[in-house]
């Protein structure tokens, strides 16, 4: 023992542990690999699937993708604001069924003789209401998003059945005719809408302080709070945004299918994959609007190619599941962590 009593001398905790170059490289590889996979899938289908590389088919893909894409863009807002922790992070499982409900509302209101304006308003209100329910349960009741939105998903599915009695509600209107059409260049209007929504959200999310703050709320809630941000309002807004996107997507869906149809819930997995997959296209491994758009196209091409190759659509579900596993595993291992 030293004679003189010394202070509470302790070793510093850590130190010179140099930040890993490895993680940097791995992230770059994941990003490059994803883009490569995108191209490879495209080329493979172009070679193997008859009719894949025709203008008509590709336009068709964009049209098909529009619905899932807009849903995934809404989901992206929630993932950004909630953080992409798979269990506790932001996720909105209700989007697909919200779309089902909104489509039913839209078709029913049109069927009751109202015009496009009233139908659109009713649809938007429906989507926002579902978003509000999610926001209340996640933000104010503190329920895990995974569970809260699962509940909302079932509420929507139930209400849709009440409204449609599990039947197809045919719908037609001037707006639907426009949406189902093509622009002069042969690009489906649905695709244009998808791009429009994406550009709008990209501007808000990537070019305004509000967007940056939403990322802070999702990236490190305590840091956001310490920066004086109204965290609850941001999270709530992300669910409202998701609900609104679902109502926009529902109108596209009605235009595509000439009415509301049952089974919208089947789209959920594709939407989740799309939103999560988009993460690999960003340097920071976070959800971004361009990333989601890219992965929506990727998933669309995948589904379309499988159809053309006469591979059972059941396989598509399997592939999507595998993609979720891969993406979640890769990103949770590689994302930069605070020390």
């Amino acid at each position: 023992m030293p004679d003189t009593v010394q202070s509470h001398i302790a070793l510093p905790v850590d130190v010179s542990a140099p930040r890993s170059r490895g993680a940097d490289t791995a992230r770059t590889l994941v990003r490059a690999g994803s883009l490569l996979a995108f191209v490879a899938v495209f080329v493979a289908f172009a070679v193997a699937a008859p009719g894949f590389l025709t203008a008509g088919n590709l336009a068709n893909v964009v049209g098909q993708v529009a619905v899932i894409g807009v849903l995934a863009l809404g989901m992206t807002l929630v993932v950004v604001g909630g953080g992409n922790d798979v269990v506790r992070g932001g996720i909105d499982l209700s989007v697909a069924n919200t779309l089902g409900l909104c489509a039913a509302v839209y078709a029913t209101v049109l069927g009751d003789g109202w015009g496009d304006g009233a139908a659109l308003a009713a649809t938007a209100v429906t989507g926002l209401l579902v978003g509000a329910v999610n926001a209340v349960s996640v933000v104010w009741l503190g329920i895990l998003p995974l569970l809260a939105t699962l509940a909302a998903m079932n509420i929507c599915a139930g209400l849709e059945l009440v409204l449609t009695h599990n039947t197809v509600v045919a719908a037609s209107s001037p707006l639907l005719d426009v949406l189902a059409g093509e622009f002069p260049a042969g690009v489906p209007v649905l695709g244009e809408v998808l791009l429009g929504v994406a550009v709008l959200l990209a501007v808000v999310l990537h070019l305004t302080p509000a967007g940056l703050r939403l990322y802070a709320v999702g990236g490190h809630r305590e840091a956001a709070r310490a920066a004086g941000l109204p965290v609850a309002a941001f999270v709530a807004a992300s669910y409202l945004g998701s609900g609104l996107c679902a109502s926009v997507a529902s109108v596209l869906s009605v235009a595509l299918l000439s009415g509301s149809t049952t089974g919208s819930g089947d789209m959920l997995l594709a939407v989740v994959v799309t939103a999560l997959l988009g993460v690999v296209f960003s340097r920071r491994l976070v959800a971004t609007i361009p990333g989601t758009l890219l992965s929506a196209l990727f998933i669309g091409l995948l589904i379309n190619g499988f159809q053309l190759l006469n591979i059972s659509s059941y396989w598509v579900n399997g592939v999507q599941g595998v993609l979720i596993l891969l993406v979640v595993a890769a990103t949770s291992m590689l994302r930069p962590h605070a020390r």
Partner: protein, 511 residues
Amino acid sequence: MTTQSPSGASPLALEMRDLVKDFAGVRALDHANLRVGRGSVHGLIGQNGAGKSTLIKLLAGIHAPDAGTIAVEGAVQSRLTPHRAEELGIHFIHQDRLLVPTFTVAESLFLGAEPRRFGLPWLNGAAMRRRAAAILRETFGVDLPAGALVGELSAAQQQLVQISRALLNRPKILVFDEPTAALVRREVDSLFGVIGRLRAQGITIVYISHYLHEIGEICDAVTVLRNGVDVGTVDPRTTPTADLVSMMVARDIHDMFPRRQRTAGPPVLSVTGLRAAGAFEDVSLTVRRGEIVGMTGLVGSGAKDVLRCVFGLQRPDAGRIEIDGAALRGRSPSAAVGGGLALVPEDRRGHGVALSLSVRENTTIASLDRFARGPLIDRSAERAEVDRLIRELAIKTPGREAAVRNLSGGNQQKVVLAKWLSRQSSLYLLDEPTVGVDVGAKVEIYRLIDELAGKGAGILVLSADLLELLGLCDRILVMYRGRIVHDGPAAATDSDSLLMQATGAGVAVHA
């Protein structure tokens, strides 16, 4: 001369008077005072649970005091909120860096006050990056790429980002809460340079630290808290460290450690030529029965990995591990437990207790077979053992059936310790056995460890608290960059030389 300050002498930037704060019936602050002169660096020290963090939370407006007043620049602030504190120019550098890991340096600096284009809600990314780089260069002389992601920075760099963020708000009072906990010596020096510069600019600084030598280095005055009271404010440059320690502890530090004569028996653990690639090389050590061996080293020194290898949690690439002269059969934790080893992990709260179970259940969960009578459990033997441990460890609990959730943090830790101690093993591997435990509990844990050794168990303690090792152990090993660089009797060394060994001072300076 101002009339605001009651003392009339030097004007005070901050005066906290007679603060009282209770949490669920427990008094965290008991008429505590803190008077900080304008433009000074004021240290705040105290053991865990002394009330430092409560005091700071009152200042931050996170909690409201039950009694007492807080005056900033002479004006009493009756309703302090986080927002109000910020308006008053009080800013905090937290120990846990509150930064978004996926943000760039520039984004982290300006989050919440982003530069905009033409006053529109439009991010001006270029201006953000330019200004961030300029601030970092001017204040700290460092060239951090403003586009680098925070998660990829070193702890020290993140600390700089955090400080720069606070400086953007032109603070009057800057509170550093354990700022050096994650920094290496060289980084600490540069942080002190920064603090000196901030002080020269007239910013008042409150500096909280566990490291007393830091207090002596940079503080103009230091207030010592103990049990929620300020026991004194002194000049750290003229006050011997020993005096500070006894103010904090209120007991002679020698009394904390049992000093029973121990006689070492035959080796219970002998490790020869152990190697794990990337973690450590050529590690040989012995622990004898009845002996307490301490091991220390910085994170990354490999000390923890050695412990993990011995317990079978990690697979060594080469070398031999013998327990009581025989090689372990199989290398897995269950083989280790079968061989009479017990590991008390560092993260006891995370891995150690089931909060909803009772003290009894938590204590005996890992050693139920000791109480087995046929297929049943001998409840009375179990109860007797639990009662004995509660008594010996002085676990403060309403009873053995009380849920662990209702115990204080320190007592929860004692329960976990009891769980492993009730196994009666021949070799105990203790990983930071007293981290986060108050002084009283520490003394009890030390006594218990000594008792185990007295009963003939071998003990290997891993700790970063050098005084703890010096007081407790017979022999101390120091690891540095994967090698044992020191192995000798505790009586023949002191904390300075251990610290030198552990930090590789004099060996080579690594960037």
